[in-house]
């Protein structure tokens, strides 16, 4: 009897001892966290921001959205404390947080939310997010703390759209009107835990603590510095010598170096993100669907994945990442490695000696490596690929805006919401830079967005993926793991497997 009692007693003490350190860890105020980013944001205005590797992490701390992700990638309140669906889901009333102020001292209210929506939907602003919010018919201010969003159709994925700080970061209307769009891009004003204090172009972006942030006691940090370091050697070395505290999405091959370093904590997560191959269907040679399909079938995606992201990386089998519930259960035909079929398709299309230029952006080195591997793989079936590396801004201008290219590797992001993977492919969408033109696809994408029943949605998204595979114009290459390496002093940082970091909960241990 006593033996059992004793062991239970000891167990209890042991448990108590084990939990003690966790309890004694109270967030400490103050400190500076230095984050390394590999490219410099061009604009910090949510209206225009494309959440690439650098910009997303900065902007997500200057602005808030109506809702945000928690650690488990679930939707939780941010600027909206609660919401109510009306009219079969065709209208949503958002109840807003009281007493929130922008960095310039003006009040956050329903009018500001309306201003943000109107700004995106206004064609004069040429926001890339305008098409994402097409179903939004109008935004009505009910009272200063309640705003109603009226949709043209029910839209279950709407909430996932709202938490994209790109697009839905709420700016201060006063500041926007005073500075104009061009000025606001470099002097952003939001409600976020940090405000912009200095932007030394080419060097660093410095954010300082917002003392009026609406979450009590937060942010704990005094300052957040984003240092632009393009060279991978300098980036990893700086992290190891303690000059940087956190870096996101380092080339996977360099992780072993950092794992060995005491004082650094790596984190790797299966992401929703993927890299993909864009083939421009609007001009030769890829205006012929057979050529597009052939090129894709000549790529060994698994080998490509391992070559670029290391062991354990997987080639894609469809457009939607396997982490997402709506991932297609079958490996779609054009994703399969079949060089013989590829050769035959090219011969049928009269392109047995196909030559084209494959672009890649400098925004992450893997894109260039993928292009190199694809070049080598395609050479095996007699296709000559010229690989050209473009600096990121030049790439954006040439490919995204100019649509003046034949093929390119592209970095893509996704999320739990399937629409994120296919939302570019609608009629007259300015982001449809691959010249995709499939009537059934164009109809199905917005329709799927509005479906409420899961079974219907699954069917619709499976069909969308099949169509996408047939068109073979935007084709996922492999699933990209997301990583974060940080100093062991950093506490409270949640590694979300996409390009956003919430630093309001982060604090530094001594």
């Amino acid at each position: 009897m006593t033996g059992k009692l004793l062991s239970t007693f000891l167990l209890a003490i042991g448990l108590a001892a084990a939990t003690q350190p966790a309890l004694s860890q109270q967030p400490r105020e103050g400190g500076v966290v230095r984050v390394g980013i590999q490219s410099e944001p061009r604009s910090l205005d949510p209206l225009l921001v494309i959440t690439d590797g650098a910009t997303g992490h900065v902007v997500s701390n200057i602005f808030n959205t109506l809702v945000r992700y928690d650690a488990k990638m679930q939707v939780v309140p941010d600027l909206a404390t609660s919401w109510r669906l009306e009219d079969d889901g065709r209208a949503i009333d958002f109840f807003l947080r009281k007493g929130v102020k922008f960095h310039d001292g003006t009040d956050f209210d329903a009018a500001a939310v309306k201003f943000a929506f109107d700004r995106i939907l206004d064609p004069a602003n040429s926001s890339p997010y305008r098409n994402f919010f097409k179903p939004v018919e109008q935004v009505v201010v009910i009272n200063p703390l309640t705003v109603r969003v009226v949709l043209s159709q029910p839209w279950p994925g709407f909430f996932y759209q709202l938490l994209y700080v790109g697009g839905m970061g709420i700016p201060s209307p006063t500041a926007v009107k005073a500075l104009g769009n061009a000025g606001f891009a470099r002097k952003p004003v939001g409600t976020g835990p940090f405000q912009l204090s200095d932007w030394a172009s080419g060097d660093r972006i410095v954010l300082t603590r917002n003392p009026n942030y609406f979450r009590p006691k937060m942010p704990y940090l005094e300052r957040l510095e984003f240092r632009v370091i393009q060279d991978s050697t300098a980036l990893t070395t700086s992290l190891r010598t303690g000059q940087l505290d956190l870096v996101r999405d380092i080339p996977t091959q360099l992780l072993p170096l950092l794992e060995k370093e005491p004082g650094l904590v790596p984190s790797v997560k299966n992401a929703y993100s993927f890299d993909w191959l864009a083939l421009n269907a609007a001009k030769p040679p890829f205006n012929d669907v057979r050529v597009r399909q052939a090129v894709n079938m000549a790529i060994d995606r698994d080998a490509l994945a391992v070559a670029v992201y290391g062991k354990g990386a997987r080639g894609s089998t469809s457009q939607i990442a396997s982490a997402n519930d709506f991932h297609h259960p079958k490996k779609l035909p054009t994703f399969t490695y079949d060089p013989e079929k590829a050769r035959k398709l090219l011969a049928d299309a009269g392109q047995s000696n196909l030559k084209f230029t494959l672009l890649s952006s400098t925004v992450k080195p893997q894109l260039g490596q993928e292009a190199t591997v694809i070049q080598a793989q395609l050479a095996k079936i007699g296709v000559t690929v010229t690989h050209q590396v473009l600096e990121h801004q030049a790439w954006l201008a040439t490919v995204l805006r100019g649509k003046n290219f034949e093929a390119s590797t592209v970095a893509g992001t996704g999320g739990p919401e399937p629409n994120n993977y296919v939302m570019f492919w609608t009629r007259d969408n300015p982001i449809n830079f691959v010249g995709l033109n499939n009537a059934e696809l164009f109809e199905l994408v917005p329709k799927a967005q509005g479906m409420i029943k899961d079974a219907d949605r699954k069917k619709a998204y499976h069909r969308i993926q099949e169509l996408g595979a047939q068109e073979a114009s935007w084709m996922a290459l492999m699933e990209v793991p997301s990583n974060a390496v940080m100093s062991s002093r950093i506490k409270g940082y949640v590694h979300l497997p996409y390009n956003v970091s919430y630093f309001d909960e982060v604090w530094l241990a001594p």
Binding site: R42, D231, T233, A234, T237, T241, Q243, E391
Partner: protein, 318 residues
């Protein structure tokens, strides 16, 4: 004095020529020059305004005059990437690069000249051979390799200096700690070149009659060396220092990229890679100005050192 004025006038004229060349080269780049300036996302109003402002419909020579006029007013255009004025951005960065070059010279000159003298003094012996070998390596290693080795050795392996980054100027260890490795990476290869030159020059001077005459007078060998030899041996070295400054400026670009120093070089490099033509133009002009001014100073120094030289650039006196 007229000597000095001639040289200054030459430098100014050269700058004008450089500006003209930059202007005409920019016109050689394929495409509409205004589009090259604005990038692809622009407003028609801006396009029209710039077109009028720079008189693109006028004959080329007139365009140059207009553009040069803007230049003299300090207007170097706006960066395509950041929309910030190029002149302002460059102005912010010039002191950083100048400091880097200065510190590199602070390394290169004493080390180079000193070791050159030492090698000559120990001519033919082990020290001389050792220095010759070391400097041969020094001029054969790529600059960024030296920098990377320094970073990996003194920063990563033995945590003596910070690896990258830059702290704003202050008379503090924090600021200078960040500049040590870049200055070494930039200065040591130059030191190797200067050492060899100094040694060769000194050895030649030893063959001259007045040195033998001094020896005959009974001065100790060491005194002779310092009294007569070094000053004369310095002349050709000073000649070459002007050239070395050009290499220093080029090297600064490499070092700034490697050690992440926000200087003019890093700015220019990013501008080239991003096809930010207004910034590239401004960068070339600023860099050309820096090394022309530096060369001018060296030229004037040369005249002071050797009063025998009359009009004529030292570069052509051989």
């Amino acid at each position: 004095m007229s000597n000095a004025l001639v040289r200054i006038a030459t430098a100014v004229a050269t700058l004008l020529v450089v500006a003209a060349i930059v202007f005409f080269v920019m016109r050689l780049i394929p495409g509409d020059p205004i589009l090259n300036w604005l990038g692809t996302s622009y407003e028609k109003a801006d396009y029209d305004r710039l077109r009028a402002q720079y008189g693109l419909d006028l004959p080329l020579l007139q365009q140059f005059v207009i553009w040069f006029g803007h230049l003299l007013q300090g207007d170097l255009g706006y960066s395509v990437l950041t929309q910030l004025p190029v002149a302002g951005e460059l102005l912010r960065r010039i002191p950083v690069t100048l400091e880097l070059i200065f510190l590199a010279l602070l390394v290169a000159l004493p080390v180079g000249i000193g070791s050159g003298i030492w090698a000559a003094w120990r001519y033919g012996r082990a020290t001389d051979h050792a220095l010759l070998t070391a400097t041969l390596f020094g001029i054969s290693l790529p600059e960024f390799f030296v920098g990377a080795l320094l970073m990996l050795g003194l920063s990563l392996h033995w945590r003596v200096f910070p690896a990258t980054g830059f702290e704003p100027f202050a008379w503090s260890t924090q600021h200078f700690a960040h500049m040590v490795l870049p200055a070494l990476a930039l200065g040591l290869p130059r030191a190797a070149v200067i050492c060899r030159l100094m040694r060769g020059s000194l050895l030649e001077v030893f063959g001259r009659p007045y040195i033998r005459a001094s020896l005959a007078k009974g001065l100790s060998r060491k005194a002779t060396l310092f009294a007569h030899g070094v000053r004369n041996a310095l002349i050709p070295v000073v000649t070459v220092i002007g050239l070395q400054i050009g290499y220093l400026v080029a090297g600064a670009v490499v070092v700034e990229k490697l050690f992440v120093i926000p200087g003019v070089g890093a700015y220019g490099l990013n501008a080239v890679l991003a096809r930010d033509y207004p910034s590239v133009q401004g960068f070339i002009l600023v860099v050309a100005t820096i090394f022309l001014v530096a060369n001018l100073i060296v030229d004037l120094l040369y005249v002071w050192l050797d009063p025998r030289i009359r009009v004529g650039s030292p570069a052509l006196s051989i």
